[in-house]
């Protein structure tokens, strides 16, 4: 493409022109429109397909793990397809099991949940909810997606190389992860590192984009405290990503050098410090777990308020709680290292910061309950998922309190209690939040409604099986079962627990199977679902004022924002909702004579408050 052509194609794409519509876009080739698209909505969908693919992969890995744990030493049905280095005759080998755990955790966290929350909802919602035509840097946005594809390809390729995929846990503690000498995994571990470095670059480009967009691209009247909570949460998340990911990238690079060129940053044989890796990893890792929950919290706040037809309880408190979670999240990383040989005094200070971080979570929880109180609750599929987010997050959060007390953590650390905790916050929290978000914004993304009946069946079965899988894990942990054990029956005192493990595994297979309902509903609704109106949920935020799906450039006329996003059941109007861009009564027809609605320099709080 010559420069002149490039410029003219960009001209056509200049969605900042007032009144810009999709017309004229037909000249864009299929590739430019669907593959190398710079439209934030298309990129959101691309991220959706990519991360759902990885969610399926992660679920399949979990299924195999559960097979081994439920039926140790028995051949995996259909496991004959694996080479003898992984599962001879279908019987999973210990080293393959370690790869399964590692890749399950890695894929779920970096390639499923994180892109689902940040890649999908960040891209979809930020411009739409702010009244912007697109992201600040559309081409950077495209780069972010394609970097994620490259990273995912490298990660999947590591299954195929000699020695198999990485097997040192998703935390890849050094020195285990520094050399194939200890694990038998050489190239796989290196590909794991390379893949995460690339994925970090993808997240970073996304974060730069989101932060700039939120600060600079808001429609007139969209003051900081009129921003809908999903966008707030994604803004704060982007700041966490911006500052946490580079720390991990630095660590990954050092680990890669230890593997490849013989440095010894983390290898004690050459005076390296294994604990340094842990500090670096968890200094990133704890902010990371909040990266994985904050956007879900934002999504859930939106859905709860909309489907309870009631203003969110304590909007300002909600924002402040997220900001303080983001602040405190930087000073608690040591709670993952209580038993690592860290200085015990340091342990005490980490304990205090860790329990304090429960307070903003409490504020959020109680505000959600307050939102439901005296509401008019509609039990649609998104609402069911959002409600189950609240109830499951409470369980996951409360189990965190046990380990936050380091004395109790001595016993619980690295047992199934941790596994239960992390799945309650990550599945019960993040994934239910994602289900709520997908079902809520599906009409906006695809222009069709998602099947309600099937959606509810999927919800209830998931909710039940999910609890049957993960709740008993608390009990396993209390009875001392360690995590990442290929075959717990090696330990005599764990043998009586086999029955429970088998029960969990059967429930897990049912849970995985149930997800096919979601997949079916998803694809069926995409092509056959009922046509969606612009605003199927009678919601207030700006994305519902444009057609479903929104045209290129989003807003035919730049919206003006008159009020906060959660004015449900306002006495000022008859309907039980009051969109953000509707001029107040008394304003002339079409909002022409509307008095300037607090435009211009917003009463801006410190925009970096989130870090």
């Amino acid at each position: 493409m010559s420069t002149a052509q490039l410029v003219s194609s960009l001209e056509k794409e200049d969605r900042t022109q007032p009144g810009y519509t999709d017309e004229g876009l037909h000249e864009l080739s299929f590739i430019r429109k669907y593959v190398f698209s710079t439209d934030h909505k298309t990129i959101a969908k691309q991220f959706l397909f990519l991360s759902l693919f990885f969610l399926v992969v992660g679920g399949a890995l979990a299924g195999m793990m559960r097979w081994q744990l439920g039926f140790p030493g028995q051949p995996l049905p259909g496991g004959g397809v694996f080479p003898d280095t992984m599962a001879p005759g279908g019987i999973i080998l210990p080293e393959f099991y370690n790869s399964l755990v590692t890749m399950h955790g890695t894929i779920m966290i970096f390639f499923a949940i994180m892109p689902l929350l940040v890649g999908v909802f960040g891209n979809l919602l930020i411009p739409l909810q702010l009244g912007a035509p697109d992201m600040a840097f559309p081409r950077l946005n495209m780069a972010s997606f394609w970097l994620a594809v490259v990273a995912g390809t490298v990660m999947m390729a590591s299954f195929l190389v000699e020695g198999g995929a990485a097997g040192a846990g998703w935390t890849s503690y050094a020195p285990l992860s520094t050399s194939g000498e200890w694990t038998g995994v050489y190239l796989g571990q290196q590909l794991w590192l390379v893949s995460l470095i690339i994925m970090g670059a993808s997240s970073l480009t996304g974060a730069v984009n989101y932060i700039t967009t939120v600060i600079n691209m808001r429609a007139p009247g969209m003051t900081w405290f009129r921003i809908p909570l999903p966008t707030w949460s994604l803004f704060i998340t982007a700041i966490l990503i911006l500052l946490a990911i580079p720390i991990l990238t630095g660590g990954l690079i050092m680990l890669l050098f230890d593997q490849l060129i013989g440095t010894t940053f983390f290898i004690p044989a050459g005076s390296g410090e294994p604990l340094l890796w842990q500090h670096i990893f968890w200094f990133f890792g704890h902010p990371e777990v909040y990266i994985l929950i904050l956007p879900a919290m934002g999504i859930v706040s939106e859905v709860l308020s909309c489907r309870a037809r009631k203003p969110i309880f304590g909007y300002h408190a909600m924002v402040l709680a997220m900001v303080s979670i983001a602040f405190l999240g930087w000073v608690v990383w040591g709670h993952h290292m209580f038993q690592s040989g860290m200085n015990p005094m340091l342990g005490t200070s980490f304990m205090i910061s860790t329990v304090v971080i429960a307070v903003p979570s409490a504020i959020k929880t109680f505000n959600w309950l307050g939102t439901l109180w005296r509401g008019d609750i509609h039990f649609d599929t998104p609402m069911l998922h959002a409600l189950s987010f609240v109830s499951m997050f409470i369980i996951g959060g409360l189990s965190g309190i046990f380990m936050a007390a380091p004395a109790v953590d001595i016993y619980l650390h690295d047992t199934y209690f941790i596994v239960a905790h992390l799945h309650y916050v990550l599945f019960g929290g993040s994934l239910f939040g994602i289900f709520a978000g997908i079902t809520f914004w599906f009409p906006k993304m695809f222009g069709r409604m998602m099947g309600e009946g099937l959606g509810k069946v999927h919800f209830w079965l998931t909710f039940i099986f999910y609890n049957l899988v993960f709740f008993p894990m608390h009990n396993l942990g209390i009875q001392g079962m360690m995590r990442r054990l290929y075959d717990p029956n090696e330990y005599e005192f764990l043998q009586p627990l086999q029955e429970m493990s088998t029960f969990i595994s059967i429930s897990a297979f049912l849970l995985v199977g149930t997800q096919s309902l979601f997949a079916f509903n998803f694809f069926w609704s995409m092509f056959r679902g009922r046509q969606a109106p612009a605003n199927p949920w009678n919601s207030n935020t700006l994305e519902w004022t444009v057609p479903s799906p929104p045209p290129h450039g989003n807003f035919a006329v730049m919206p003006t924002v008159y009020r906060g996003p959660y004015e449900y059941s306002s006495p000022e109007v008859d309907a039980d909702f009051y969109p953000q861009d509707r001029p107040p009564p008394g304003a002339g027809p079409g909002g022409q004579a509307a008095p300037e609605p607090t435009p211009g320099p917003a009463p801006t709080p410190e925009p970096v408050a989130g870090d």
Binding site: P274, G314, F366, R374, A405, Y411, D414, D487
Partner: protein, 225 residues
Amino acid sequence: MNWSWMMPETVSTYGPAIDQLYYVILVITGVVFFLTEGALIAFLVMYRHKEGRKAAYIHGSTKAEVVWTVVPFLIVMAIALASKSSWDLVKNPANFPADAMRLVVTAKQFEWNVTYPGADGRIGTADDFTVRNQLHIPVNRAVRVNLRAEDVIHSFFLPEFRLKQDAIPGREIPVWFEATRTGEFTLGCAELCGLGHYRMKGTVYVHTEADFQSWAASRAEEQQQ
């Protein structure tokens, strides 16, 4: 199936304090759990959509925000405070019993090597002897173990003693414990350390003082030959 929320039996001196703390947290979180989930379900039933119902137009309440910020804060600080003493007791070397029997445990893929000081009571001398995957100790006497690792990180886990501590190559990390009854207990590895992680286990034998002495003597003798 064993759905128990009770901690299994403990045989160390500080085990009961840790279990106690666990039960306190269990009760507190249990109460919070039932209150919040109960309120959630009650609201769902009471305020479910009915024709003609309009939700209350309420934006929040500063008083409520203050209450539910301060109360959880006080509760969690109390938990932290309660935790501190047990934590210091178990993990702070300054509080370790001075007269404890000293051992060295060296972890490597995938075995535990326990080194005893031998007759002279000092480690690092010729009469030391080492046993593999067996930890013999006398009852009612504090034992101080210096943990080492040869290759990768392992974690020294005595479930019945409520003790867990990572062993890190290049460092020596002290821990202590004291058994309150004789018997055979589990020694496990709680940190992923490679493909044999799941079978890196040993047995703790708690003897009476006399039995321990005779075992040690016979072991030392074997070593000489």
